[in-house]
């Protein structure tokens, strides 16, 4: 029996250039749960996804994965080079990497899995299509097929329904729910509250720090959303340094400011 916890955040802080984008996050994500991550632009949702995927190193704290947990990450803006001379099948078969790695030969069952993945996203017959001939929605479906092929325990989806029409959305949503039924853990960054209410039992509302996290009905309340809206998107160059002296004495901002430059060290952030 694998542990019931999939992810543990232990005082996790993630950021860029000394500014925190995800601030002191603690909590756990249960195995097999399906969680929507919600928040305004710049509230740290994508940063959190990168942190979990291991692409961004924490500036403080830890993000602990359950042992042997495999992770699939579908970024919001992929760095995909669509002008690269590749076909849909080349892109989707990248999803075989966790199984076959650098040297493993693709086996007959891999080809079957590949065909099944393309079928599942409705791209049957697209194997040989050049990537630059795909529409935005078709590309997103191809990326879903790749994610499917990764066969991961934890699936991170960053705004997966961008540029996707309603028919495709229904299709992809069904796929996500299928993953959930298979016992995979889903974390998805989403903006459509109705969609979250309808399909995601768990939610995390972010505004650099977590405003609310739990059952969706408890999280998406008017009060919480108002609270989240007061979140200031812009970085404050004069924001007090977060650390022992500054945090302990939040009233004495001036002292914290003076302490600021001298307190600048690795792991310090605003």
């Amino acid at each position: 029996m694998p542990s019931p916890t999939c992810l543990t955040f232990d005082d996790l802080t993630l950021g860029y250039g000394g500014h925190a984008a995800v601030h002191h996050l603690s909590g756990t994500v249960a195995r097999g749960s399906m969680t929507a991550v919600i928040g305004a632009n710049g509230s740290g949702k994508s940063t959190l996804m990168k942190g979990i995927a291991g692409i961004l190193k924490p500036t403080g704290g830890h993000c602990l994965r359950a042992s042997n947990l495999s992770v699939a990450y579908l970024p919001q803006r992929s760095e995909l080079d669509c002008s690269f001379p590749a076909q849909v099948i080349d892109l989707v078969s990248l999803g075989l990497w966790p199984r076959r790695g650098l040297f493993g030969r693709y086996r007959p069952e891999d080809k079957a899995a590949l065909a099944a993945a393309l079928d599942a996203v409705g791209l049957h017959g697209f194997e040989k299509r050049p990537l630059d001939s795909l529409s935005g929605g078709q590309m997103q479906r191809a990326l879903f097929a790749r994610t499917l092929l990764q066969d991961a325990d934890l699936i991170l989806l960053d705004e997966p329904f961008n540029a996707v029409d309603s028919r495709t959305l229904t299709h992809l949503l069904a796929l996500i729910k299928q993953w959930s039924r298979e016992g995979r853990t889903i974390l998805a960054v989403l903006h459509d509250h109705d969609l979250v209410h309808a399909h995601f039992p768990q939610s995390m509302l972010m505004a650099r720090k977590v405003i609310a996290w739990g059952a969706t009905t408890d999280v998406l309340t008017t009060k919480n959303l108002q609270h989240a809206q007061q979140f200031q998107e812009a970085w404050d160059e004069d924001a007090p340094w977060c650390g022992s002296d500054a945090a302990a004495e939040p009233a004495d901002v001036t002292a914290a400011l003076f302490a600021g430059p001298s307190a600048k060290k690795v792991g310090t952030h605003v």
Binding site: A53, G54, I55, V71, A72, Y73, P75, S78, E79, L80, D81, F84, P85, A86, Q87, D90, L91, L94, W97, P98, G101, L102, F103, P130, R146, Q150
Partner: protein, 288 residues
Amino acid sequence: MYDILVAPFAHYAFMQRALLGSLVLALSCGPVGVFLMLRRMSLTGDAMSHAILPGAAIGFLFYGLDIVPMTIGGIVVGLLVALGAGAVSRFTIQKEDASMAAFYLISLAFGVLLVSWHGSSVDLMHVLFGTVLALDNAALTLIAAICLTTLIGLGLVWRALVAECLDPLFLRSVSRMGAVVHLLFLTLVVLNLVGGFQALGTLLSVGLMMLPAAAARFWTNRVAPMCGMAIGIGMVSCLAGLLISFHASLPSGPAIILSAGCFYVVSILVGPRGALRSLAAPRRHRSA
């Protein structure tokens, strides 16, 4: 016909060596050039070919026109520049094209200074434009070793290299191999340029890398066939260039590169993905 095509190689050992050396080089440079082009690093090859000059010059200053010290010097300086430019782009906000330009300019100026310090301008021309007609056994062995290393290296990391070109963020999410593969690839670029400067000189060695690759892009939309095309175009260019150079008493390096240039221009015009084909695109279309 025999006199034009075969006799030069049948009768002259230096022509045989030149042909062998340049064919092996084309085999090695073709795939490297394709990946440079696909990674939008076509000019990086150019920059690197300049950057290896001071290394070759240092070897040349101390040991004369001897292949071993010039090669080692070229490899060391080439790798230093590649690593330096890569490190700057990784740890600062500057992108690799700018840091590469800065490093290669410093390196090139240093190299020209070194050569002019002791050597005459004739020597400089030797270093810059190569001596394909004077390939000795040591040079042929070196080119063959570089070719073997390149083909084995590319074969080993092929999947990762394609993934790194196609979707680097994805590769980072499933493997930490991206940076290693990038470095290995840059090493292969340096090795091939160093191998090339013996035959073609530092200024033209990048031509045998980029022109066949750029020409092959107009013929196919798959990576592996593109590498094959580039190798083929490179080899035919070497053969044609050497023959032209022999019969017209022209320098061999530029003759080879200009032959490859002809292939490039022809490919732009008549390749299936070239200009004429897209201009003459049919007005008729299928309904779905």
